[in-house]
């Protein structure tokens, strides 16, 4: 009995050590948002470790990494950037060029330029800046292009067998196509319905599905201030908006305040970071249903 126990322990230790060794030996891929992490995981399977280093609850667009975070990222085998100006930290560090891939490089001609902002610096006189809308993956056709770029990077670096990557890419593209088709059909009922978003996240989504979305700059998941509600009231009056989209669920008081202005509340997490157990495709699908149902109720 004791011999059997010892044998079991030995086998267990062996398996544990093999597992740890496998984890250590696998290539490391770092992504700048959850959407890219999900795409990379789908494509690479168990052949690599895919990491998204931004802590839960932190906006990955404006995450400020520590030196240790950057050391970890620099030592990865592949670094997947979103491009379109997403994740400000990537322009504040040195990233190894040979390991870094901009997943939206092939779709730059489809970027949405945001409003010019006029101001001045000291003696520099007044001038303007233009920005880019950054949440490219909310248009499934652009997400597919980003998945293509990831697949290409994985293939050229031989991180997983080519046949496996191709099979997984085909499956992912099929899922995104279904999602896109369903969204087109469901959101057709929202043509001409003015929508307000609590954050400027949905530009590519709005363009893809021909939605009219005005954006605020409210803190995600927080109760709006009286001044913000007053501004919202003016905007509702001017746009005749009927729906407000939240990127994170706020306290019930916030829902009540916007409902009092005649708005129907919809929560649509743009999955720049993980929310609960749902993967991005489920989150997207749920949001499409919530939006189309908002006008049906």
């Amino acid at each position: 009995m004791i011999r059997l126990l010892k044998l079991n322990v030995a086998v267990g230790l062996l398996l544990l050590s093999a597992g740890a060794s496998l984890a250590q030996d696998r290539p490391r891929i770092v992504t700048v948002n959850y959407a890219l992490q999900y795409f990379a995981e789908r494509l690479v399977g168990e052949a690599a470790e895919v990491e998204f280093p931004v802590p839960q609850g932190v906006d990955p667009s404006f995450w400020r990494p520590s030196i240790a975070d950057i050391s970890e990222i620099q030592s990865a085998d592949l670094i997947l950037l979103n491009g379109a100006g997403f994740a400000t930290w990537v322009d504040r560090v040195t990233l190894p060029r040979s390991k870094t891939v901009n997943t939206s490089a092939a779709i730059e001609d489809q970027f949405i330029v945001t409003e010019s902002i006029t101001h001045s610096h000291g003696d520099g006189g007044e001038h303007s800046h233009e920005g880019l809308a950054t949440y490219t993956w909310l248009d499934p056709t652009l997400a597919m292009a980003q998945a293509d770029a990831i697949a290409s990077a994985l293939t050229s670096r031989q991180i997983a067998p080519v046949e496996d990557i191709e099979t997984q890419l085909e499956a992912l593209r099929a899922d995104l196509t279904v999602l896109d088709t369903e969204a087109k059909a469901a959101l057709a009922t929202l043509q001409g319905v003015a929508i307000i978003a609590t954050h400027p996240r949905y530009q590519y989504y709005a363009r893809r599905y021909d939605l009219t979305v005005s954006s605020l700059e409210w803190e995600a998941g927080a109760i709006p201030t009286e001044a913000q509600l007053a501004n919202l009231e003016v905007l509702v009056r001017d746009t005749e908006a009927q729906i407000i989209v939240w990127e994170a669920e706020p306290p019930i008081e916030a829902f009540e305040a916007t409902a009092a202005l005649g708005l129907r509340n919809v929560v649509f997490p743009p999955f720049a970071n993980a929310v609960g157990d749902k993967n991005p495709l489920q989150t997207f699908s749920d949001a499409v249903s919530a939006l189309s149902n908002a006008m049906a109720n």
Binding site: F62, R64, P65, S66, I67, A68, I70, S71, Q74, S75, W89, D91, R92, V93, T94, T114, E115, S116, I117, H119, H121, G122, G124, H127, H129, G131, P200, S214, S215, L216, E217, N231, V234, L235, D238, T239
Partner: protein
């Protein structure tokens, strides 16, 4: 409708500017020093700013002024750079940073 669109633009644009901080900071390192460059996005050099140097635990190591050409130099032997360095440039109205890892220093020292 035009009024509404304009209002929406204003609501969206103002915080974007606040968050964007259109000042660019770059730092390069060799065996002896970190050279910091700061300029505005229109190309003008930053002429008045504090350059703060912090370590890996975010402890302030030193503060140096920026030169008229928008550069500052931090001698490596004047700071403990073993955990890397964070270079923060702050004009009072704009701020930005650059992260130098221990690996950046080691790599550039070898080359």
């Amino acid at each position: 409708m035009i009024r509404a669109a304009a209002l929406a633009c204003v609501l969206a644009a103002v915080p974007l500017w606040a968050a964007a901080h259109q000042m660019i900071v770059f730092a390069s390192v060799d065996c002896e020093a970190v050279t910091v460059e700061a300029k505005f996005s229109n190309g003008n050099a930053v002429q008045q700013a504090d350059v703060r140097v912090l370590d890996g635990a975010n402890v302030l190591l030193t503060t140096v002024p920026i030169e008229q050409d928008g550069t500052a130099t931090v001698q490596l032997d004047s700071v403990d750079h073993s955990t890397g360095l964070v270079i923060e440039v702050d004009t009072g109205s704009h701020d930005n940073y650059w992260i130098v890892t221990p690996e950046d220093i080691a790599k550039n020292c070898q080359s």
